[in-house]
Subunit: 260 residues, 4 copies
C-alpha cells in the first residue's frame, strides 16, 4: 500500500458558504475520496489547524506521498514545518501540489522560484491537453478533457523548466498554462497539477480524480529513505578508494566537520 | 560592459595564515583580477563584513552577474539579504556559485535542494573534463585540464538535474563530480563551478580564470529587468483577450488581490 | 556578421496561386527580408531545386545558422544531403525549423522522434504566449501576440522533452501547442518555431520577424568547428593521463580503429 | 510479466577465442541470465543472424523492453529493421543500449547525434558512482561499485543532454564518463549503460546484473500502444472543439491528407 497524506488548508470550507456547500466535509475529503478508489493507496488526512499542522516528523516518516491544497493561509504555515516537509521530500517522499499551492511555501521552497502567474476567476472553460501521452500520470485519460468552470491561470508561470510537461491548458478567455509538470528534488518526485479552484466542483470530476490517483502512484518512490541525506561526510585520506598521500596545506584538522 | 560583482566571505583570509599568504588581498581580489582581464567586464567587490553584506538593493540593481565565494560563514549571511539576492536573480541577474558556495544559503534557496556531497582535503589531483565542448563556458579550453592540488568533492551531489552539464571532475582518490552545471531560475542564469579551495592557488590557474570570464559572459542576460516579476495580477473578466462572461460562484470580490 | 542561410522548398510558390501572390519572390525571400533588418546578420538563400539543394559542403561550412522551410516536398530532399546538414549541426551550425518543417527529414533526424501532431487549415486565430520571458529569443516581444489567420497544430507534438519552452500557442478552435522549443545536438543549437503556413501573411508579421532575428542570434554558436566531431579516437595505453599498465585479454591489435 | 528481448550481435563470440571462452553461450545468454533472476521478467533472445535479425513486427509488438548489444557489425543491421525498432520505441517499447551499442544505428537514430567518444582497451579499473540514488535503476546498489577490468570510454560523449544522469564512471587512466543516462522518445524510455566490453566478465558482475534488471523494470511502460502514433490527422473545421468558421485562403481541399 502506498501511504498518501492529503493536507488541506481547510479555511474557505469554514468561512465561505459556496465552498462549504460544495465541499461539506472539506476539500481534503473530496481529494481523499478520489484516492480511496484506488485499492493500492492508503489515505490519511492532515489540516492546517492541527498541532504542527498535522505534519509531525512521525507522520511524515510514515508518508510516501503528500498532496497539498492551500490558498488563503499560505503565510500561516510555520517555516520549520515547511523545512521539515522539504527534508522529507529530499528523502524520497513524493509531493503533489494542487492548484493555488503554486504559492505555498513548500512548493516555492522546492522550486527555488517565485511561482507567480496571472489569474481570473470567471468560471470559464478550461481544456487540458495531454502532451506526454506515454506518461504514467496520463494513463487512461482521453487526449483532452474539459472542466466547464475553472479559474484561469495564465503564463508566464514562474517555475523552473520542468523535467516533464504532462498537461497544457487552454482557457476560454485566451490564455494557456503548463498545468501538469514534474520535478525531482533529492530523491523526491514532485507533480504540480493546476485545476482545483474551491468554488467549482473540480475534485468531483472523474478525469481529475484519475490524475490524482495516477500522480500518487507515479510520485511513490520505493527507494526513499528515512536516513539523513543532507550529511556531508568527510572521507579520511587513509580511506580513499585509490591510495593517495596528503599534500599541501590544510584548513581542517583531522576529524573536523565541514562548514555549512 | 557587463557589471560583475564578486562577493567574498573574507573570513579565512583574515584568520588562517595559509589563506592569507596565498590570497593576501583576499580571494575576492584574485577572482576579480581574473575578470578584469576581460575588457567587457566591469568588476566590483562586496564582502560579508560590509553593511548589508555590501548587497544593498541599489548595488544589486546595478549588478548583471554576481559571483559568490563563501565557506566558513554561510550562517552569518542574513536571510533577508538572501531573499533579496534571489529576487534579483529572478529578475535576470546571473549568479556564479563557486566551490564551497554549494552550501551557501543563496545557492540552496535557488536549487530547492540540500546540495550535500562528500569531501576530502588532501591536496590531490583533480582533472576537469569538458563534456559539452560547444558550450560558451567551455570556449577556448582544452579537452581537459588539471589542478594538481585540490579538495575532493564526491557524488552524489544533492542538486536538481542540471539544465546543462559542462564539466565533470576526476579525482586522484577515486571520485567523480559534476563540476560545472547550469540552471535557470526566473530570468536568471546560474552556474556552479566546483574548484576553488582556499588553501590552494586555484584562482591563479589560467584555465580556471578563463572559465570565470566565460561564465560571466554566459550568465549575463540582456533581457533582465528591475521590475517586479513576482506579481500575480488579476485579469478582469472584461479585459479577457477573448470575450467571456462571468459564470458560477466567486470567491474574490471585484478588485481583490489574490492570496499568497 | 552571423552568416544565415534561408533554405526554401519553393514549391507552392510556383504551383499555388494564393501562395504565389502572397509571397511573389518566394517565402524564403520574405524570411530573408526579416533577417536583413538586423545589421549583424548576413543572409544567403538556397532552394530545393538547386544542385545539392544549394547545400554543398562548402556552403554549409560557411553557414552559421540555417533556417529551413519545407512542406510539400520533404521526400524530395536527398538523404545524403540530410546527413550532411546533420553533421554540420553537430559541428555547431544552428538550425531553425519553421512550421511544417516539423516533418522535414533534417528535423526528425535530429530529434530522434516522429514529430507528428494534428492540424486544421481554417484560418483561425493563434495567440502565442511567451512562457520564458528572459529567453533571448523572446527579447523585445510583448507578453503575447496574435496571428489572426493561421493553420492549427495541436498536441501531442511528437518531440523529445525540450531543453527550453519559449512559446505556447492558444488556438481559437480549442487546441494548444508548444510553438517555440529549443534543443542542442552536438555543438549545434536548434529552435523550432511553429507559425508560418504558406497561405497566410505570417512572415510579414513584425513579431514573427523579430522572433526570427532573435532566433538566429541565439542559435549562432561562436564555438562551432569545421573539424570532424564524430571521430572516436583510440587513446594508447602509454599515453594515458595517469600511468596504467595493460591488463587482461584484448580484442583490438595495437593501432586498430574501433568498430562503428 | 515484463517481456524482455535480448538482442545480441553474436559475432565475436563466434570469431574471437577470448570472447568465446568467456561467454560460451553468447553474451546475449549471459545478459538474459541476469534478467531471469527476476521473476517478473520473461526473457527472449534474438540475434543478428536470424531472418530480419529476429526482430519481426510480431516479435517487436510482443516485446516490452529491448536490450541491445552490438559492436563489430553495426553496419550489418538493415536500415528498415532499425526504422521498425525506432517506431516501436515511439509506441512505448523500452530500449536499453549496452556498451558499444552507443554506435548502433538504433541508438544514434533515437539520439539524433553521433554518439562518439574516445576509448582505450587496457583492462583498467572502472568505478561507477551513483549520482541519482533515488532513481529506480540504482535501487539496491551501493554508493559506488568497481569493475576491475574494463575498456575505457572517455568524454565528451556525443549524446544530447540526458533526461537523468544515474551513473558516472571514474577510470584508472584519468578519464570520466556519463555511464548511465536516460531519455524518452515518443512513449518509449531509453537507458544507456556503459560497461560490457566483450573480453571482460562484466555481465557476470552482480551489480551490473542488478542494474540490468532494474533498468528493464524502469523502461517498461504500461502505457505503450501498438497503434500508429505517427499519424498526423486533419481535424475538420466542423469538428473543432470550439465553434469556428473557416476563413482565408486554403491549400488543402476537403479531406486531403497532409504532406509529410
Amino acid at each position: 500500500m502506498i501511504r498518501a497524506l492529503v493536507w488541506g488548508e481547510n479555511v474557505h470550507e469554514q468561512t465561505n458558504e459556496t465552498v462549504a456547500q460544495l465541499y461539506p466535509k472539506g476539500m481534503h475529503e473530496a481529494i481523499a475520496d478520489a484516492l480511496r478508489a484506488d485499492g493500492t493507496i492508503a489515505v490519511s488526512i492532515a489540516t492546517l489547524q492541527e498541532p504542527e499542522h498535522g505534519l509531525t516528523s512521525r507522520v511524515l516518516e510514515e508518508t510516501d506521498v503528500l498532496l497539498w491544497w492551500g490558498h488563503a493561509a499560505h503565510g500561516a504555515v510555520a517555516d520549520d514545518i515547511v523545512a521539515r516537509v522539504a527534508g522529507r521530500v529530499w528523502q524520497g517522499m513524493g509531493l503533489i501540489a494542487l492548484h493555488s499551492a503554486h504559492f505555498s511555501k513548500i512548493f516555492k521552497t522546492l522550486m527555488g522560484t517565485h511561482c507567480a502567474l496571472h489569474w481570473r476567476e470567471a468560471g470559464e472553460r478550461e481544456r487540458l491537453w495531454v502532451v506526454n501521452p506515454g506518461h504514467p500520470i496520463a494513463a487512461g485519460l482521453p487526449a483532452h478533457f474539459t472542466l466547464e468552470n475553472e479559474e484561469m491561470y495564465g503564463e508566464p508561470f514562474g517555475i523552473p523548466e520542468p523535467m516533464e510537461t504532462v498537461f497544457l491548458s487552454w482557457f476560454q478567455g485566451g490564455e494557456v498554462f503548463r498545468s501538469g509538470v514534474t520535478y525531482q528534488r533529492g530523491r523526491g518526485r514532485i507533480f504540480y497539477f493546476r485545476p482545483g479552484h474551491e468554488t467549482y466542483p473540480t475534485y468531483y470530476d472523474e478525469n481529475v480524480r484519475k490524475v490524482l490517483r495516477n500522480a500518487v502512484r507515479w510520485a511513490y518512490n520505493p527507494a526513499q529513505t528515512t536516513q539523513d541525506v543532507t550529511a556531508a561526510p568527510n572521507v579520511p585520506v587513509e580511506q580513499a578508494l585509490e591510495p593517495i598521500s596528503e599534500r599541501g596545506p590544510k584548513l581542517h584538522a583531522h576529524g573536523d566537520r565541514g562548514f555549512r
